[in-house]
Structures are given as C-alpha cells and as structure tokens.
Symmetry: D2
Subunit: 307 residues, 4 copies
C-alpha cells in the first residue's frame, strides 16, 4: 500500500509544483552554469527495497556542485577517520556559505565540511594522500555509483576557476592560518574539478544509497563507510547541508540532505530511501526553489520525515 501511495504522491506533487510559478534565478556566477535551461525538473526516488520512481528530466546530467562535498567528505572520513575533525568542525555556520568572518574568529578552522572553506580543507587532505587526486576521486565516485558514465566537466571546472576569486581568497586565507598543507593553486584545481562532476537524478540517488543502507558495499565488495560514520555524515547534512537555510530545511523537510548551486538536492531517510530532485532555479539562499517546495510537500504528505 505504501508503494502505491508513494508513487502517486510523487507524481501528484510533481504536477502541482510544475503548475506553479518557477521562482528564483539560475546561478550565473559560474558562466557555464548560466547556460542551463531553467525548466528542467527531474526526480528520482530510490528505496532500500529497490523501489525506484523517476519523473521528468531524471536522465539529464547536471553539475552536482556542492553535493560533491558529501562524497569527498566520505572518502576523507574513510581514509583518515576522526582525525579530520581536528581540521574542520561539525557546527552549522549561521552565515552565508562563503563568509570569511567566522573563519577569522575560528583561526582558520572551518565550521563544517560543507561550507566552501571546509570542503577545501577536505580537498587538501585528499590532495596530500591520493596519488592522482582527480583520477582517484573520480574512480571512487564511479565505484560508489556503480557506473563508469560519470565525468568531470572540464568546461565547468575551467569556468569556475576563471571567476573563482572568492574561493581563491578563501583558500589563501586558510593557508595563512596553516590549515592548508599544499599550495592553494593545487587544492583549488582539485576543488573546482570535484564540484564539476555531472550526474543525473538516478545516478545521484544510486550514489547516495551508502548513507541509506546499513553496511552498504559496492559491487566490487568494498564498504564505503562504517555504519557509525555514515550516521555521522547524515547528522552533519542535517545541521549543515543547506548553508544558512539548514534550519529551514530541517524544519520544513525534516531529512538530512545536501544541495548544490546546479539546482540539485539529495535527501536521505536512513534505512528507508534516498530522493534526488533537480530544478536549476535557486531561491535567495542558493538552494533549488522547486526542489525545496517538492521535498517539503513530499515529507509533509507522506509523514516520512525522521522527526
């Protein structure tokens, strides 16, 4: 019965949200992202029992941007364990995602791994450890997703690098506190590539099942994260996944999740399901306007939130 409801609920909400004005604006600060059609709207729901419901533009690839930060965190957490928390915190930031203020008062220790500064520190760890950072990270993502169709977008990475003065400022600023080991240039190069990964809704939902299923293993038989670590990543997504709208997302949707300026949102109900929504127009806080609307309606109607 639940199955039937879920599919219908998803379709009804999709129709309802589609029928209403598509507010907000596409991210234009990265020139390449500004070229995307704002009408794209895709969904992929994937349950622990392999129920899969896909609607709209779920097959179209898009730039996952900050959603990628969960994957780099996952890899660094697996490699370094709890040592990573010596260099990055787990507290919500309470200010816009690229603010330098808190970084200054916190002596270069970013508040959490999902704000840009925190993600850069995670990237720095990976750059230090991986033999070929870009190749190795991509191989990891492909294994978790069980797909070799995943690519970086060199165009997006180059586009972001060409205008990323604020990110360059951030990385040099953290370096000035000694919390970046490598040269900022090298860290930023990896960071821009990491954010440029392109996936479609289905690939994202498949990729994030390692945060839904206990002891998730890849088809190659590798465990992505221990249960305990996966729970902690979910906890950080809950409090920090949506920049300074994290409380709002927790309040309205009630699930751990992560958004990107490409318009994607992934949300997770541990032990139950993963859902990916994509619609490129962003609200003022930088999160997908329709994505937020869709997920709020979904968890409200199904009462399938963690609270």
């Amino acid at each position: 019965m639940h199955k039937i409801n879920c599919k219908k609920v998803l379709e009804d909400i999709y129709k309802d949200v589609s029928s209403k004005e598509n507010k907000g604006a596409i991210a234009t600060y990265i020139p390449e992202l500004a070229k995307i059609s704002p009408d794209n709207f895709g969904i992929c729901f994937l349950s622990i029992d392999n129920e899969e419901y896909k609607i709209g533009d779920w097959q179209t690839k898009f730039s996952i941007q900050s959603i990628s930060k969960v994957l780099s965190l996952g890899l660094a957490y697996k490699i370094f364990g709890d040592k990573i928390w010596e260099r990055v915190g787990v507290e919500p930031s309470g200010t816009p995602f690229n603010s330098l203020i808190q970084l200054e008062s916190d002596n270069g220790i970013p508040r959490n791994p999902f704000i840009n500064s925190g993600a850069m520190v995670i990237c720095d760890m990976l750059v230090s450890h991986l033999e070929n950072p870009k190749e190795d990270f991509l191989a990891y993502v492909r294994e978790v997703c069980d797909s070799d169709q995943i690519q970086y977008s060199e165009t997006v990475a180059a586009s972001e690098a060409s205008v990323g003065y604020r990110n360059k400022a951030l990385c040099n600023f953290i370096k000035s506190f000694g919390n970046i080991e490598n040269e900022p240039k090298e860290v930023l190069d990896f960071y821009f590539y990491m954010c440029s990964i392109e996936m479609n809704c289905e690939e994202l939902s498949k990729t994030f099942m390692f945060l839904v299923k206990d002891n998730f293993k890849t088809t190659k038989g590798n465990k992505v994260l221990s249960n305990s670590k996966a729970k902690r990543v979910n906890a950080i997504m809950q409090t920090c996944g949506f920049y300074d709208e994290s409380g709002e997302f927790s309040f309205k949707v009630g699930l751990p999740g992560k958004s990107g300026v490409g318009g994607g949102i992934v949300a997770i109900y541990p032990d139950k399901y993963c859902i990916t929504v994509w619609s490129p127009k962003l609200n003022k806080k930088g999160n997908s306007y329709r994505g937020m609307k869709f997920l709020e309606a979904f968890t409200t109607e199904t009462e399938l939130s963690i609270f």
Copy 2:
C-alpha cells in the same frame, strides 16, 4: 530482547560514566544554581510502550532552565501557529548563546526560539496573550506532565533577575528593534520565572512525551501539539537545541534534544522514546558534561539514533 538490552545498556553506561572523572564546572553566574552538589547524576528513560528505566538521582528536583524554552515554544506555537516565525527564525545561531552580534545584523529577529533572545520573543507573545502569564504557563506545564507537583523556584528566579544584566541588555536591544511588544521588565520577569521551573528526571521525561507520541493528549483530553507541529519542534531541537554545540550533539548523539545550564538534557527519539539525563557540571559550551557523555554512549551502543 530489546527491553532487556536497553535497561542493561543504561545501567552499564551509568556505571562507566560515574567511574570516570566528572569534568567541567557548575554554572555559577546564577548564584542560586551554584549551591547544587556536582555529584548528582540521574537518568530517566521512558519509551512509547511505557517502559521506564530510572537510575541514580532521578527523583531529585533541579532547575530545568533553558529546557523550559521548549515548553514555552510549544504553547506559543499552539496558540499562534506559524505566525510566530515572523518574529523568530529556525536557523542555528553559530555563535555563543547570548551573543548580540547576530541580533544586530538580523535587525532584532532572533535566529531561533532556543537562544535567549528568541525565547524572550516567545515570552513576549505569551505575556501579550495570557491573562495571568505565570499562573497560566505553570498550569499548562502541569497538565502536560500530568502532575501538580511542579513549581517555579522564586529563589532561582530572583537570583537570576539580580544578576541578569546581559539578559536585560538583550531584551532592551530587541525592544529597540520593535520586536518586543511589552515592557522589557515584564517580559524578563516572566522569562526568569519560566526558566526557574524545577522538575526531576522522571517529570521531564513524562512532560516531553508529547514530542515522542503521535497525537499525544493530556489526561484532560487536550492535544498538546499537532503531529506536524511536534515534528517541527523536534527539527528545531535537532539543529538549535545545544547553543553552539548543536552540531556536535547531532553528530555524536544523533537525536533532537535540549539542554539547560542546570545540567539537564532531554533527548527524543520520535515514535520511540524520551530520555532525560541530569548532571550539573557543564562543559565549556554550557552543556552537561556527563549528560553528553552518557547520551553519546547510549545511542552509539544501541544504534538508536535517528540517522
């Protein structure tokens, strides 16, 4: 089987935490609170199936302090509905609990109802609406807890009023932005009384079952909050319940919860259980040192976190 484990796990952790150094310091800024023995350590676990496990000083009354802010929020939310969010936000604050900085940049709209400023705005709403604010609020708390043994501590309220210059600053500051309707003096009087409520661990767990059980009703037959509203209160506790250690609590314990400077912590697993821990010594962030240790161990060992 689960029942047996749970009781034993609670007792084992209690022993273990008791055997280790009791770090931190009792809150001394309220002279009256400084008189409590630091050795108090009580637990009350209460499940949705009425399993109840109590350990140590669970019968001793203590000042619930900020935990009371969940109760005043609950009452205001019931009375005014979503209108309250026009005057207070749902975002984590990211800075110490009594900071005035964010209030200034946010033009007098407190970040959330659990920082002092936000709780004052909620108090202001209740002072405007209730005929006899103190009496009516106490009656409400007694009904939710199903006990007429609950009292304000006039001594604690007076003690806090006598030194509460920072809270007076906060309340006058919000008033200067127009977000307090009544005279600050009156709002503060109610606020200090509200925080002075005394309960023991069992009373707290019983009181907070309205956030555990769907459609919880008091013995008088009144619904405390709708399901949807209760979920949202839980969501706010998850992101904002522990001042600037909210992320840490979410990360380590993985439950919505609320702490008070009296050393109490209430944590909730929706649809499953409520647990109250009390130990007066506080860590640097102002949360019970042993309370945090106990709950972290409890959800880690039982894997009973929401993530």
Copy 3:
C-alpha cells in the same frame, strides 16, 4: 587683515550654504528633538584674541546632546587622571555609534569616550564620585561657560529615557562585563540628563575655549584641564568625534571637533579659535548636514586647518 577676511569668509559661506538645498533629516528617534524647526542655522566664531563673529540663529538654545560628552570626559579626566583609560579606550570605533559588536569583542571596554557606551562608562565614574551628580555636573558646565543660564531640558531627558531601549541595552551589556559600577538605571538617568543640556552657539564656543587656550582658567580661577590633558582631549576629538564619519571630518575639515544629534558641531583650532555651527538636519552618518558643509568650506578657504 586676517580679522577682516575671517568675518567676510564666514558671512560669504553662510550665505552660500543657506542658498543651497538643506538636505538630510532631523533626528526623530527622540520625540522631543523632532519638534525643532529644520531652518535654524547659527554660527559663532570665537578666537583666542576674543574676536567674536556671530551669524544667524546663534542665540537660539538647542540640545547639545553628544557634544556634552566632551564636557563629562573633561570633568572625569580632571578628577581621575589617566586612570580613566583603564575602563575606556582612545581608538576610533569604525562602526556606527551605537553598535554592540565591538563592545562584545572588547569585553565591555568601549573603544573611546565619545561613542555612547564609552560616555556611559564616564558617566558611571562621575556618578560614583560626585555627591549630587546632576547638580554638580551642571555647576561645572556653568563655571566653564561662565554663565548661569545653562539648564538641562527635563523634557528632552524624559523623552530620551522613554525610548532609549538601545541605550538601556548598552548600559546593561557593559554592566554584564563588570565595567559599570552603579545600577544601570542610575547611570542612564545621569546620562540622559547630561545629553539634554541646552546651549546656544555662543555659549558652546565660550565653553570650549578651555580646549583652545593654554592653561585656560575659569573666572573663579580654576584650571579646567592641564595643557597636556587638553591636547589629548583634542586628539580624541580628532579621531573619534564624529562616529564613523570621523575620518571624513578630519579629511575634509581638518580640525578636532564634536557633533551632536541636535545638529550642533563644535570645532577647535588649538591656540587659535573655536567655532560652533548649528543646523538641525543630519546626514546619513548622524552629523549636521549644513554644519559639515560650512566647516569644510571654512577651513578650505581660510587654510586654517591643523594639517
């Protein structure tokens, strides 16, 4: 020759500024101040050689407001000497005059004695030391000005007290850091009276000659401040006299000075002259629009700036 020029320059600039639009807005946050006619425009130039040039509404009394902070500083500096710098700084604040942010990061030590918080700390010192603070301070001002026609405005003091929530916030906030000895209520009462003093342009220029003349003595034969202390008060006016427009005033006018929200500005050329300008409309930074224009033109044309 200089004499002749000076009178003519003053008159020409007065005509010129009068002929142009009177921009800005009267301070309305103190209800009583909002009643003043915005057309008032008075000047009094007074040299060390007793040349005196008066133009326009120089005889009309107005609320000197923050200009009074120089007088309370002068009295406290005389009484306590350099001990006052343990409780208040001499650095420009760099932020709006009533900001609480810097006070928080500076642990309750106000940046300088001319921002509200700093003036309150000075008031607290005087309240602790003077037998009858209000009477004694008024007597002091009358002696410095050599006039018994100077009064507090009880109406303005009451008006400011009735809406002064931000100042109440400030005073309680400093008290919470331990840098106010007396009850905030008492300090604020003195503070509001101090700011309510009324003078006309001539009285202000006469009063401030103690910062122009070496070893200035009152007609009763009392030295107001030593030379060295007077120089230091001038230095603080130079860097901090105009809130966050202090640099602008120094840049454009090039004299130490002090403004008040009543629209008065007093500027000083040590060893040469004192000039008072009054025009109630304020620019966005809270300083008299015409006062700033007049003084900029005056020091530019006469080249009588200290630089």
Copy 4:
C-alpha cells in the same frame, strides 16, 4: 633658542629610551625581515628651515614597508585626484590591519588607503595607469627624495611573496567584489615590490618634506601634491596611520604619521618639521616599540604637537 632645545631634547630622549629595555619583537612573518638586528635605533629630524639632527643608526637602510603606502597614495592622488575616493575610504578601520571582516561588510571598498586592502586598491590604480609600474614608481620616489640611491629589495619582495597568503586572500577577495581591475597576481607583485623599498632615516625625512612644506617642489621643479591634497594626506595619516593603534598615536604623540613593520615611523608637523625614527622591535599592535616611546616623549617635552 628653539634650535638648541630641539637638538638637546632629541639627544636626551634618545639616551633615555636607549637605556631602557627594548621590548617587543621583530616582525618574523616575512623571513627576510627577521634577519635585522633589533638593536638598530636611528633618528632624523628635519625642519622646514633645514635644521637637521641625526642620531644613532640614521644611515642604515631598512625596509620601509607600509610607510611606502603614503608614497603610492601620493602618486595616485596626484594622477587621479578625488576619484580615488570612489574605490577606497578615509575612515579608520578599528580592527587589525589585515582583517577581512570590514571588507566584507563594506562590499570590497577598503576603509582607507593605509590598511593592506586599501593600499592594494591604490596599487591596482597605478598598475592600470603606469607604463612600467615598478620602474615608474621607483623613479617617482627617487625624485621626491632627490636621491638615486633608493632601491627595491628583491630579496624582501620575494620573501614576502613566498609567504603572503593573507595578502593573496585579501587581493582575491577585493577582486571578487570587482574593486581590483587587474589580475591579483600582477597587483600583488607590484604591492610586494612597493613595500620592499629601502631607505635610511635621513632619506625618509627628506622624502616626506612634501607633506611638511607648502607647495613643495622637487629639484626637477615638479610639484608633488597641491597644498590641499597634502593636507588631506596628513589628515588620513592622523586617523589611520597606525592600524588599530591610530587613536593611541594621535593621543600620545599628536602628529600625523605612518609606521611600517620594518620598525620605521615617520611623523609630520605641517609647516614645521618631519621626524623619522627607526627601531625594529614592534609592540603588539605592530608599531615600533621604541619609535612610539621616542615620539611620545618628544612631543610631550617640546609641546610641538598639532593639538
């Protein structure tokens, strides 16, 4: 008579300050600067009447560092006039010299041309305008000083570039607000060279006479700045010349001046004299410890301050 006093006063103070503990620490963040002997202590007093008094290590060249910012400001002010104030302010910053906080709240407009961010914006203007920025700027400085013995230190410039992550952060940050026209790399290269200029005390005093003498002209017959502009540069030095110790310097010394982390301080009494002091150990605010002591004693004893 004044001449005699002045020479003797200088010598007496020099002896006195030399006899006391040399507190503070040499700047070590630029590796090359850390090599200087802390015992260096030189003075050069130069009056408008060409009295010249030189004491101690006045012939030793040192890195003038931020003092150079007055020279780049002077050149940009001459070239662009008051247009420069559209891109940089004239207000004291109130926070440490390299803080990014204010820059963020001010949308990339630096508070004044003497904090690093402001000096970079000035450098950006010069890089856009000058054909060969480094060569042209050096030629300008040599002309003002009337000496062809002035050089950049390539070693110091390279040393600063190698560790200047915070300055790189600053420059990219301003660029992200659109207030840097050229590539940050190019602007920083010029900035590091500009700060690496080396002079001795006599050269500095000679160079800064353009801010002392009305209508100062170089031996080639070029006016450096108009009187009005020179006054304004002095005014900015008065309020902003010593980072967040500007108020303190104004208070204690009472002269416009500029310090550098190389331990040099230049102070100016318009129409009277220029004095340069050099001693490499810095106090906590980053200004020469002995330099501050010397100048405070000098203006106190001679009463030759502008106030």
